[in-house]
Amino acid sequence: MSFVFYILAAITLAGGLAAVLLKNMVHCALAVSIAFAGLAFLFLGLDAQFAGFAQILVYVGAVAILVVFAILLTRSSDTPKDGGVFSRTWLAGLVVAAAVFAVIGWAVLSSVGGLPHEAAVPTVTVLQIGQALMGPYVLPLEIVALLLTVATIGAVIVAIHEKEDAK
């Protein structure tokens, strides 16, 4: 376990935690983009260059901006005055999340002995990824393309402002 890993993991987790805990919504969006960027660097640490850069491009460049726009459009950038930011059933949610973490953590820790120690660094070029996308994974690729088109149109139709008096 290298020093860099600990720093990146700490940044990522701190970003995620801040996104969940902060009161101001825009701060949450900025914190979550720190978490996304930290994850991208973790991907780079795992020798997955392509996935790491795609993560930054999609999450920091697009999803974070979408979230920010949604926050401003729904006017939730100001801290709510009544009742705080947490739901009435927050305790139940916290217990469920803690239980899930306990189960996954227990599963990981109890199988530590069986996990592989070191693996040779895989040399994956972008060319190989492209050929895989156009070869064995061409059907999923096309489905994702269709899905993205449908999602774009769907998002526009859902969010479009309908005129009160249709002409």
């Binding site: 825009v26 701060h27 900025l30 983009s33 960027a37 991208a40 260059q49 392509f50 850069f53 795609a54 930054i56 491009l57 920091v60 460049g61 697009a62 974070a64 901006i65 920010v68 726009f69 401003l72 950038s77 070029t125 972008v126 060319l127």
Partner: protein, 391 residues
């Protein structure tokens, strides 16, 4: 001798690194590269600002700066001292942490792009396999920084400017990426060094630059339009339109932080011009085969400065667009054309050598351009707008 001059910076770096123990050499080489980039581009920034102020002055029938030093050439130094010594004012209601971080993120993200740009033969900091993807990933992070600046100022002009900037950058990023994808398709690589070396060949005396192909020419024009919008330059400078929203997202910044925004804007201009040079104008390769004896880095930087001159020229020539014109132009004209261009690039790849592909590809692009241009000219998106309440 010619060879030595071409590689002078590489050899110099090797010589300097040679004084260190073997274990540190690789790290030291990268540090030297970073230091050179961080010093070189601010120097170019000073030069470009002077050029812009003088050139714009000439275009507008006035002198421009002419008080500091002979012909005013020391003006950038005076500007620098001024912005460093000015008081740094943070608005009382501003979100101080975000307000402080925004200019830093802008500058860092703008500088990151240079890591993968080949500035001469063997002169690239990191020869990454996914270089272009890295570049666009870094470019995408500046959008969030602009939003941070506008939102944290708690000023309606700042917020309006930031929202304009983000909307504009997202809209024009799509054609920017698509016009670059055509180059990637033809070269078969995302590595910028491979893209340059694919263009570094000659037929007779003429180079194989991508701009000299039908799809490359169309792609370059769309790339140039998108970069102008992406760097918020005139005629797409709505985010900082002085007559409408004071100075946009950096209204509430002063002193050194404002200088950082200014630097970030110019550095982004340099890096995106460098990328355009690399993708379409052959990077560091010479324009004619008999000029290859001139060092490669001279070619790269002269192409870069030429692009900056075009930016300045456009600023002196074109009036600012309206917000609806800007959006309609991006989504209804540039985006469909760049999709067609992608198709044409694929055709170019599969038609093989010969004159047919020149005719077919040029014809498709020309017909699409004329047809869509007529369509747009007929629609009222780009004409004068009637104002319901102002009249």
């Amino acid at each position: 001798m010619v060879e030595k001059l071409d590689q002078i910076f590489v050899l110099l770096s090797h010589w300097l690194v040679g004084f260190l123990p073997a274990g540190l050499q690789q790290a030291a080489g990268i540090v030297i590269g970073v230091v050179v980039i961080v010093c070189l581009y601010p120097a170019l920034f000073a030069l470009a600002v002077l050029m812009e102020r003088k050139g714009l002055g000439r275009m507008q029938n006035r002198y421009g700066p002419n008080r500091v030093g002979p012909y005013g050439i020391l003006q950038p130094i005076a500007d620098g001292i001024k912005s460093l010594t000015k008081e740094d004012i943070v608005p009382l209601s501003a979100d101080s942490a975000v307000h402080f971080l925004a200019p830093i993120v802008v500058v860092v993200a703008s500088f990151m792009g240079f890591a993968v740009l080949p500035m001469g033969r063997n002169m690239v900091l990191v020869d990454m396999d996914a270089g272009l993807l890295f570049y666009f990933a870094m470019g995408a992070s500046t959008e969030l920084a602009v939003f941070m600046a506008g939102w944290s100022s708690r000023n309606k002009y700042s917020l309006l400017g930031a929202m304009r900037a983000v909307a504009q950058m997202i809209s024009y990023e799509v054609p920017l990426l698509l016009s670059s994808v055509a180059v990637v398709m033809i070269t078969g690589s995302l590595s910028l060094t491979k893209i340059v070396s694919a263009q570094n060949a000659y037929t007779g005396i003429f180079p194989h630059w991508y701009i000299f192909t039908p799809w490359g020419f169309a792609g370059f024009l769309m790339y140039a339009i998108s970069t102008t919008a992406e760097t918020n330059r005139s005629p797409f400078d709505l985010p900082e339109g002085e007559s409408e929203i004071v100075a946009g997202y950096h209204t509430e910044y002063s002193g050194f932080k404002f200088a950082l925004f200014f630097l970030g804007e110019y550095v982004a201009m340099f890096s995106i011009s460098g990328l355009g040079t690399t993708l379409f104008l052959g990077g560091w390769s010479a324009p004619f085969s008999f000029l290859t004896w001139i060092p490669s880095w001279i070619w790269f930087f002269s192409k870069l400065m030429l692009s900056i001159c075009v930016f300045i020229w456009l600023r002196g020539t074109l009036p600012r667009l309206r917000q609806d014109q800007l959006m309609n132009f991006a989504w209804k004209f540039v985006l469909p054309l760049s999709l067609i261009n992608l198709l044409v690039a694929a055709l170019w790849r599969f038609l093989g050598e010969g004159w047919q592909r020149w005719v077919f590809c040029s014809a498709i692009l020309l017909i699409a351009y004329v047809f869509m241009g007529l369509q747009e000219a007929r629609s009222d998106h780009f004409g004068p707008r009637s104002y319901r309440y102002a009249e």
